[in-house]
Amino acid sequence: MNKKKIQDLKYSTVQFERALLAIDRTTAERIISEFKNDPDRMQIISELVTNALENIGNAWEEGKVALSQVYMSGIICEELIDKLFSSFGNKQINNPVIAIAVFEDFHVLGKRIIYSTLRAGGFNIIDLGNGLSAETLVKEVKEKSIKILLLSVLMLPSALRIKQLNKLLTGIDVKVIVGGAPFRFDDRLWIEVGADATGKDPSETLKIVTKLVGEIK
């Protein structure tokens, strides 16, 4: 990208971020569509979306924006990416098998936020559902050859039982990334339960997944 394009992208990212925080789908789509005829459109749009989501995720972590804004931003970006990329005739990243689930409990919001952020970041993700037991997850990992398993929990007991799940996954080639309130309030809990990583917010999770995908490839 040349210097002017980089400057344009920076400006558009700020505008796009503002539109997302205001839940203004129309403006968000207009901004992103300005790049649809650019020869580097895939790279530019991906960068714009992931940068904006990263900034919003960081702002939430710092207490500057609310969860509703993180959630809505992810949903809007996912919709826009799906719409634009399918109109370009492009497929998403052909990544190793990545799956996401709510472990044991039924609090779906965290999973939904991560799912939409990763989809907006260009990854294909299998949504395994909610309230899954350790046994079901092990079966899914084996059957679907899952290489990255993202687990979302809200309740502390569910978070603690990920330890048992990880024992059952011993010897299987899969990376487990955990997230949810218990892991935010106790920054050592992910190590205690034997996870490979934790994402404090959607942007951190996106970075972790991007890095792991690079390593696996």
Binding site: G63, L67, R112, P157, A181
Partner: protein
């Protein structure tokens, strides 16, 4: 001073004999009685016995008449899933479709068996503690209970894009909440803890709060015939402290992620601060860490009164060992004597 005198003094922004301690222990009562959480909450007498034992054991300055949040969902006809080692969870949301909202009616407290267990427990607890120890009743705010009624994602959808249905749901929930809070006060509760996590800036931006949760809280709290504490269940509160003080509440919770000094400053002479030990981390605290955390918190928040020490969520996890709770209590009794030694 009795616990009641201690709490009333701090609420008037004066220094009592020591910092009041509100250890929000619920499920630990089942451990005390050696029974399952499900069995414990099935009978008011269990909760009475559990709360009385824990109040003595931890020198707690309150009786916490809270069973579990999903109890209110049972009153609406929803289901509850009991766990062996955690708070009972609401089952799948009972409002499956927004079309059901116009016909939704507030449950009658007098007709609800689950709610009656709580009222019976409060009545019996009051006979024991009289005016010596405050009894804290609990309601889910009309603005926050929809997370369990609808699910979080659908509730965001309702709140942001379906204003009429949102208003209708608030009306139903407000009627129930006021009725439920006043029934607990009538049964003997001293004050009501108004759980309102969705109003926290962690969950919605302040401008949205001002047009939704704030108005709901103002209307609801005005009709509750007793003092209230507004609790954001681990959520941040600093950005909206001034707004919260206008809802008529007396106490506000602080998140463990927030600077307690800033919260205390923002609340000065307007609100009493409740908080903000990290309940999740508490599970693995050593005695030394527990003692240090309590001491730091007291030094930063206790001078001048207007402060009650508690966890930041409003419920101590089942996994927190008794030894940690005893250490926290001891530390409050040692470091919390006024005047605070800085």
């Amino acid at each position: 001073m009795s616990s009641m005198e201690r709490v009333i003094t701090t609420l008037s922004h004066k220094e009592p004999d020591r910092v009041p301690l509100f250890l929000f222990v619920t499920m630990h009562g089942a451990k005390e009685l050696g029974i399952s959480i499900e069995e414990y909450f099935s009978n008011a007498d269990n909760v009475v016995e559990g709360q009385l034992r824990m109040q003595k054991k931890y020198n707690n300055d309150c009786i916490y008449a809270f069973f579990y949040a999903a109890l209110e969902i049972e009153a609406f006809g929803g289901t509850v899933n009991f766990l062996e080692d955690g708070p009972p969870n609401a089952g799948l949301p009972f409002i499956r479709n927004f079309d059901e909202i116009p016909n939704l009616q507030p449950p009658k407290v007098k007709d609800s068996k689950p709610l009656h267990k709580v009222l019976t427990a409060i009545q019996k607890l009051k006979e024991y503690v009289k005016e010596e120890v405050p009894i804290i009743g609990v309601v889910m705010s009309p603005f926050s209970i929809p997370i369990m009624q609808l699910g979080f994602d659908k509730y965001y959808d309702l709140m942001f894009f379906h204003e009429d249905l949102f208003d209708r749901l608030m009306k139903v929930n407000e009627e129930f909440c006021v009725d439920w809070a006043n029934a607990q006060l009538e049964a003997g509760a001293t004050a009501i803890c108004y759980y309102d996590p969705v109003s926290s800036p962690t969950i919605i931006p302040r401008n949205k709060y001002l047009s939704t949760g704030f108005k709901t809280a103002k209307r609801t709290i005005a009709r509750i015939k007793g003092p209230t504490a507004t609790h954001f269940a681990s959520g941040n509160s600093l950005q909206i402290i001034d707004d919260v003080s206008q809802t008529g509440t007396a106490i506000v919770s602080a998140s463990t992620f927030e600077d307690i000094v800033l919260i205390k400053k923002a609340c000065r002479d307007k609100l009493t601060v409740l908080g903000n030990l990290n309940g999740i981390e508490m599970r693995r605290w050593t005695s030394e860490i527990a003692n240090q955390n309590v001491r730091n918190l007291i030094m930063n928040a206790a001078p001048g009164g207007g402060f009650i020490l508690s966890d930041n969520h409003g419920e101590i996890p089942f996994q927190v060992p008794e030894e940690v709770l005893l250490t926290i209590s001891e530390a409050v009794h040692i470091h919390g004597r006024y005047p605070i030694e800085l």
